[in-house]
């Protein structure tokens, strides 16, 4: 479980995250929804122990991220934006590297690497160098790397970004299965239909603040809309910056 309480972060005079509070439960997919520049990525980076908050706190399974970032990271699987692959390494080697950094080795590492490759449909590409992979293939390798140590909590920054329809469906299925297995999944997304079908809980953020929180159904009821996209716009109070 991830608990965010009064979280704030500034870069110079710019306030990126302002008194943000929400909880992501185990066994559920929590979507962080917001327009560009609303503070989603900064929030996920603080949750991942990459940035230090100016105020407030984040705990991952009770571990304070600011006080023990490495302890919290051991409980997390994080998929940052982009793929960030090494062109000269194969998917299998990427996963071995990531697993090694999580302290895995030997037969245990080997088994988990195979499982992650299978879960992301990468078996046929497992031993090909990543140089020349399509965006979707790269993103799948990055996702497999996130899953290799079978983390209890997952932080995913736009996990289906760049994937084709079958690829995106496969990822959604994987995330649903992980939540079904009791994992805590936190993801950011721009795709309303994805949030509507995948997320158990949605945290709508704008200008670094949480403007609404609840299930997709709750948000529709609260705004009196029938479409989540309309509900999202209504909650933000403006269409500015949404590219509509």
């Amino acid at each position: 479980m991830i608990e965010v309480n009064g979280l704030s972060k500034s870069f110079g005079a710019t306030v990126a995250v302002n008194e943000m509070t929400f909880t992501a439960r185990d066994g559920a997919v929590t979507g962080v929804l917001g327009p560009n520049g609303s503070g989603k990525t900064t929030t996920l980076r603080i949750l991942a122990g990459l940035l230090a908050p100016r105020g407030g706190s984040v705990t991952v399974d009770g571990i304070d991220v600011a006080k023990d970032p490495r302890g919290a990271q051991a409980k997390l699987g994080v998929l940052p934006d982009g793929a960030g692959l090494y062109g000269r390494l194969t998917p299998r080697e990427h996963l071995e590297y990531s697993g090694g950094l999580q302290g895995l080795r030997g037969a245990d590492l080997e088994a988990r690497v195979s499982a992650a490759l299978r879960a992301t449909g990468l078996e046929s590409l497992a031993d090909r160098r990543a140089q020349g992979f399509s965006l979707g293939e790269r993103r799948r390798v990055a996702l497999a790397r996130t899953l290799v140590h079978e983390p209890v909590n997952l932080l995913l920054d736009e996990p289906t970004n760049g994937l084709d329809v079958p690829g995106a469906r496969a990822v959604r299925k994987t995330l649903r299965a992980l939540a079904g297995a009791g994992r805590c999944v936190v993801m950011s997304s721009h795709v309303m239909s994805e949030v509507a079908t995948l997320c158990d809980q949605v945290v709508v953020v704008a200008r670094g603040r949480v403007v609404a929180e609840g299930s997709p159904r709750d948000l529709l009821e609260r705004t009196g809309k029938t479409d989540l996209e309309d509900a999202f716009v209504a909650l933000l109070g403006t269409e500015e910056g949404l590219g509509k």
Binding site: L51, Q73, G84, Y86, R88, G99, G100, Q102, G103, R105
Partner: protein
Amino acid sequence: MTLRVALQAVIRKELRDARRDRRSLVAALAYALWGPAVMAFALFAIARASDPDAALRLGILQPGRAPGGPVGPLKDPSRIPTLVSELSGLPNVTVETLAGEDVETAATAVRRRDVDVALVLERDAEVRFEGLRPVALTLVYDAARSSGARRASRVRAAIASYERGISDARLVLRGVAPSSVDVFRVEERDVSTAASRAATANATLPLFLLLAAFIGGMNVAIDATAGERERASLEHLLVHPVPGWVLAAGKWVVATLLAIVSVALTLAVSAFLLSRPRLLALDLGVGLPAREAMDLFAVLAPLACFATAIQMLVAAQARSFKEAQTTLSMLLFLPMMAGFVQSFSSLVPTFRQHLVPVWGHQLLVGGLLRGERAGVEAFLGLSLFTLLAAAACVAATGRLLRNERMIASS
């Protein structure tokens, strides 16, 4: 335990990546061949030019004398023929007469390289010689040519030797002991050993060796730091529960390994190319026996550790491979400056100077190549300071990698 596993994972990944990066590998290892090869080429060129028995074409010009053919006895065989014989007798010297009436003709022949050196006798040389009056000789050569002055000095030395023989004979005939007119008899004694003469000729070798420590691991040092930022893989790396120093140390181990291999190869290739018998015979080469090569390696290995550590620290602050490459190429001036300053200044090396990384290495390597034994204290002190500086750089790189500025600015 977990940290050890993580460190091994970083080393394994960086080794794998570096091994597959052919361009970086070739660049690093080609230097080991290229540096000593360029130097050997230059030294062989010098060897050809400085060979004491190198062929020398000497033109003799005396106004009023008909040219052509090998020079025989002058007009009066009883007067100066032995001068020409003396010159003709020098090893590998071909003497020929030049047609002309003045020094300018001889100068033209030298400029056109018809002859290497020309000797112009005055018109009435035999008369003056017979009348015990000084005979004016003009030696014409081109000092701008690499071997011009040296060839002229061969001729000058032969003339001086001939002159001394004649003057001694003249004094004896007049009842004067030749030694009584000598105020001084200067004897020269060169205290340099063969190894020290070789080091003088090979003043650039320390620079090549020091640069090997800096160049060997440079690409890996950049790829493992600035490269991570450029390909946006740093954030993916930092989400793992591994302290920055473990990440930096793993990357440093691999970069250093390459730098050390580069140093060892440069030493081996230098030892092979620069110990060719032809170079050694002229004191131009460097005989690098295994013991001496090992000493040099022991001095340079800690430098390789420091070089890659400081390169990683600098490169980690760059956002792209190219930016890091530009900055690090300036860092290469460090060993170059140490070499130049030590070559051209009259600084007397003190013990403290030996403890400064790069500067101390230049001193120790230069000393070893001159055949001097390095003091154990200086070697141990320098190695200790260098490794401490390397450790500080690795720790600073680790802190830098974990600095949120690295993520926030990406």
